[in-house]
Symmetry: D2
Subunit: 200 residues, 4 copies
């Protein structure tokens, strides 16, 4: 390697999630041969991310001058429901479905005993605080993944929410069943049981 700058760039990129050293090298050489203007625009966009903040209530990324994001401030959303999702991209995907019209809460990940570092970013205490102050919220929908970690996270939230449940907050979970593409030959017992009981 004759260029320390390329080497440094490959090392920086390799630390990003999902980028191995090979793809990092490929991206580095690609950017080296790109126009200077493209690199400058890319760098500026990265710098400008500092101006993006997270909503004080739901933790979505937004650029409003207010503490709240547009969705949390909107009079058109049903303020009696909060859907707790794991990640920013879950939120984007759910909004695309166009079915849900309540508020959100972006947890920032799942409880994962095997990767304790990833838990540091979880906003569990902030969720508790939000529920403490949540006037008019009647239902919290736990939209975690149907995986062991997602289930574990949902159970934990159910536990810390008990004081609010006693005050009539309803905690629900997304329904289980056949998802698009499921074949009966490969379905596990729990999926079949839910699909059977939810038949219509």
């Amino acid at each position: 390697m004759q260029s320390p700058k390329i080497e440094q760039f490959i090392q920086l990129l390799s630390k990003l999630p999902g980028l191995g050293p090979r793809q990092a090298a490929r991206l580095s050489y690609h950017l080296l041969d790109e126009k200077k203007e493209y690199r400058e625009m890319l760098a500026q966009t990265i710098i400008s991310l500092t101006q993006v903040k997270r909503c004080a209530e739901c933790f979505q990324a937004h650029e409003q001058k207010t503490a709240l994001c547009l969705l949390c401030a909107s009079p058109n959303r049903d303020r009696s429901r909060i859907m707790v999702v794991e990640k920013d991209m879950d939120f984007s995907n759910i909004e695309r479905a166009g079915v849900y019209d309540g508020l959100y809460y972006i947890l920032g990940g799942v409880i994962s005993p095997l990767r304790p570092k990833s838990q540091e970013k979880l906003r569990l205490r902030e969720l508790y605080n939000r529920l403490s102050k949540a006037n008019g919220v009647k239902e919290v929908i736990l939209a975690t993944s149907a995986t062991p970690e997602g289930d574990h996270t949902a159970r934990y939230i159910e536990q810390i929410s008990e004081p609010f449940v006693k005050k009539n907050l309803k905690i629900t979970r997304l329904g289980r069943g056949l998802s698009t593409g499921s074949e009966l030959e490969y379905s596990d017992a729990e999926t079949f049981k839910s699909a059977y009981l939810n038949r219509k």
Copy 2:
């Protein structure tokens, strides 16, 4: 290839579903080096499949002297429900879940316009006949896969069942939702919608 018998065997095996020519060759040479007794047992078991019949009502494989299989003849099954499944292996997998205690109907595949040959084995007319005579059956559960072909097949069965629906037969489908392993980031709109509406 110096052995016409090996060659013939490879060709016979290559026609079986899921066996390419390479795996067929591997199996052939493996059997060639197996003990004579193993080959004879294998051949005899294949011959003896002729004594296996399919149940006159549900089309499961069985070896009873009667026309009906043990499950269809059992007094312990709920005779007011029939679950229509695509394949023998769907039936085995559902029984393993231990949730359903009614009767079954093994269709023999799905309606697949792109593979008309596979439809020849479908027992749709026989299903119609069974429903015509089905005294005491109150519900038919269509347990087809959550795939375009599975949905298409379910809709077709709903259509041909209309005369029975008018006589109070209930036709249901397995519930949709998150199946085990589903992540919200990758869920399609229909799966999310069902999961949301079926929340609890």
Copy 3:
């Protein structure tokens, strides 16, 4: 499972290499719904494999009345060369290339310390015996795979062949280099080194 014969068949098939229980079940039900004539032909072909023997010299499968296979008995093959291959299918693939016109020796596998059972079928002692009696053989080409196990097997054969090497037998190995599809970005050092030294 209501048919013990189907169950027995699935178990027999599951033991074959490369067939898991699911594919075994799929094949079993497929054969159940096949015509009786097909099953009988399949069973008969399996039985008839007993008449296939392995050549006394090269261990290929053949059906001649003689001990030798047609290739070993042919006057058109170069009798001064023997190519040692791992498996029957390696032999078929090499013959298809149409480059080599000498004799063969099918070893029956590789030396694999991790799977000692698979070594029982190796014809190493028989190879030694053949080389002892091999009048006029000038070269033995070790055509084992370029894998750790293939290399290990080749080295072992080189060791047991030392007495014959002293009597002027030449032992060679297939050349290393870029194989079709190789990309330089992913090539290991040994492959590159051979490719570089064998350049032309």
Copy 4:
């Protein structure tokens, strides 16, 4: 999407090779939650790539004040050989093998009739010019991949090099054969033929 800056960043990243929209989104949100210092370092490294240049002779990335890179200027490399490689990463991988001690030429890709855009970056004319002036170069080794496009590119370079071949330049290609991991059962005829002819 409530943050136009995030949206812009995802779009910029999606254009990079090997990054789909989903991975681009994942990276964007990851960077949003990273420390400001990390983002600034990343941006600065991207900007600083403008100071990296490509060697006037071999087109490697370097940061010398001279036109030539360290390798091209080194007295320790054999200046009578030039190895033509497709990509920067091929060069890195070959150097790691520690076998070759001559000079290099980084072509910048392969001739790919199906992706004409990718050919714009190919330094074929520059290669012709370098060979015109190459005093003392006795051999050009075409180290393109053993793929149809790599072969096509090597043949094209052989054609444009004919004037130099007449003046005693030798053009070679890397040797073909079994590469690490190759199994005889799956080897194509050309690979086997080369491996057989290069045996030793």
